[in-house]
């Protein structure tokens, strides 16, 4: 009986010491960068895209973070994920139908009793110490249904203003879902690095066509072969939906360049240990 206990303890010890050795080969000097998904990610104790969530993620040692970006009616960029405010705040309506003054002070609904508030992108970057030490993916959520040339111009100018103001050109990637938005930004600022975020086949085709830095695909839609195909064309790969330890490991094994994780602590430990 005593021997069995020792054997069990020994096996447990061996498993606890198991180390993941990854043979990483990618376009980012063979390094995978650990990014937060809107900070600490979905379903964590800080709401996604709140200043608290993003600072917590960076303080835990992440290489950077993805941030969801929307624009108000009066052209202010706001860090927010959902299409409607009522899905995760105490206000209702769409951000593109509101002015910043109307939504300033909006409180995230979860976690209970937290007094975490919506933040402008400008305030967010202002409050990140040593901003240029981190990598940012600006995931542009252009929910506005009728986008005209004024909208594109206002949105692009707002993005450019933030990138230039905080000197983020080297370490920021702008993520778009649609071709027209890629074209418009590329036309005014070809030096801003862009990622396309859609299904793999479409993303690969657009990335090649517009000579983009990379593509963003959910981890469950990725395979080793797909990543190798993108790499063979000089296109980097970012992935998300890694909301478990297992998925973090799977994403690293795919040799992607960037992981926007919902399990920041685990991924940081996995890559830096």
């Amino acid at each position: 009986m005593k021997n069995s206990i020792f054997l069990f303890a020994f096996i447990l010890f061996l498993f606890s010491c198991e180390k993941n050795d990854f043979d990483i080969k990618n376009l980012n000097k063979n390094q995978v960068k650990a990014l937060g998904h809107g900070g600490m990610g979905i379903g964590q104790t800080y709401p996604m895209n709140s200043l608290e969530s993003i600072l917590n993620c960076l303080n835990l040692g992440a290489d950077g973070t993805e941030i969801d970006v929307q624009m108000t009616k009066d052209g202010v960029l706001v860090a927010f994920h959902d299409q409607s405010l009522e899905l995760s705040t105490n206000l209702s309506g769409k951000i593109y139908n509101k002015t910043w003054a109307e939504i300033e002070g909006a409180r995230f609904s979860y976690p209970y009793y937290g007094n975490y508030q919506l933040i402008r992108l400008d305030d967010l970057f202002k409050n990140i110490p040593n901003q240029d030490n981190y990598i940012y993916f600006l995931d542009c959520k252009n929910f506005q249904p009728n986008k005209d040339s004024t909208y594109f111009e206002t949105f692009n100018n707002a993005i450019i203003e933030i990138i230039d103001k905080y000197n983020l050109i080297e370490n920021t990637f702008v993520e778009f879902k649609s071709e027209i938005l890629i074209q418009k930004l590329q036309a005014v600022r070809p030096d801003i690095k862009q990622f396309i975020y859609t299904d793999f086949a479409n993303a690969l085709s657009l990335a090649e066509q517009y000579n983009l830095e990379g593509l963003t695909v959910a981890v469950d839609q990725l395979t080793h072969e797909k990543v190798e195909l993108a790499h063979s064309k000089g296109i980097m790969v970012a992935t998300f939906n890694t909301h478990s330890h297992k998925r973090n490991i799977k994403a690293v094994e795919h040799n992607v360049e960037f992981i926007q994780t919902d399990r920041v602590k685990h991924l940081v430990k996995l890559l830096k240990d």
Binding site: T45, S53, L55, N59, G105, P111, Y112, Y113, G114, N115
Partner: protein, 180 residues
């Protein structure tokens, strides 16, 4: 905004103190003999419930005529221990509740109170952690098992709250306690 918040907090705290004082004074004249309940002090842990994810509580029972009794409860809970800078800086949640009970060993109860939260958030001007104090009204409707002279206390409650005195939320909790 800040001024309104503090005013609201002080007004609500004042109301709670007055209610508690009145209840204790009223009950002092109506105390029964110790034949009904031997143990009037309860320490209990509540999973979920008024303290959010859970809380540790002290509750003092007061005996009323017939099968009625009442209690005043104070608790302590937290949401997280470290703040977003990863430093030790816990959120504090303090539930204060007044309950009325009906029953002998099997009791139904009805209660209300305030949850005082003292939580950390970031200052959007300089990014530094700051503490916010807020009040949230809560109610409690539930069942409790506490046998006369018994030390075990078990309970289940529906504990809806009005978060920030603004948003109604459904919530519930399960209690396990020790009477002494």
């Amino acid at each position: 905004m800040e001024y309104v918040n503090h005013k609201l907090i002080f007004t609500s705290l004042k109301s709670i103190l007055i209610l508690l004082t009145l209840l204790i004074l009223a009950l002092a004249g109506n105390s029964q003999t110790d034949e009904t309940i031997l143990y009037k002090n309860i320490i209990h842990a509540e999973a979920g419930g008024i303290g959010g994810y859970g809380s540790l509580n002290y509750e003092r029972m007061f005996l009323l005529p017939e099968l009625f009794s009442a209690s005043a409860r104070i608790g302590l809970s937290t949401v997280r221990i470290n703040d977003y800078t990863t430093r030790f800086n816990p959120d504090l949640l303090i539930p204060l509740t007044i309950n009325g009970f009906y029953g002998k060993s099997h009791k139904i109860h009805l209660g209300f109170g305030q949850l005082i939260t003292n939580t950390i958030r970031s200052n959007h001007t300089d990014g530094k952690p700051i503490r916010d104090t807020n009040l949230h009204t809560h109610f409690a409707i539930g069942y409790r098992y506490h046998k006369d002279g018994g030390r075990l206390v078990l309970g289940i409650s529906y504990t809806p709250m009005i978060e920030f005195q603004e948003t109604y939320r459904h919530w519930g909790g399960v209690t396990v306690g020790f009477a002494f």
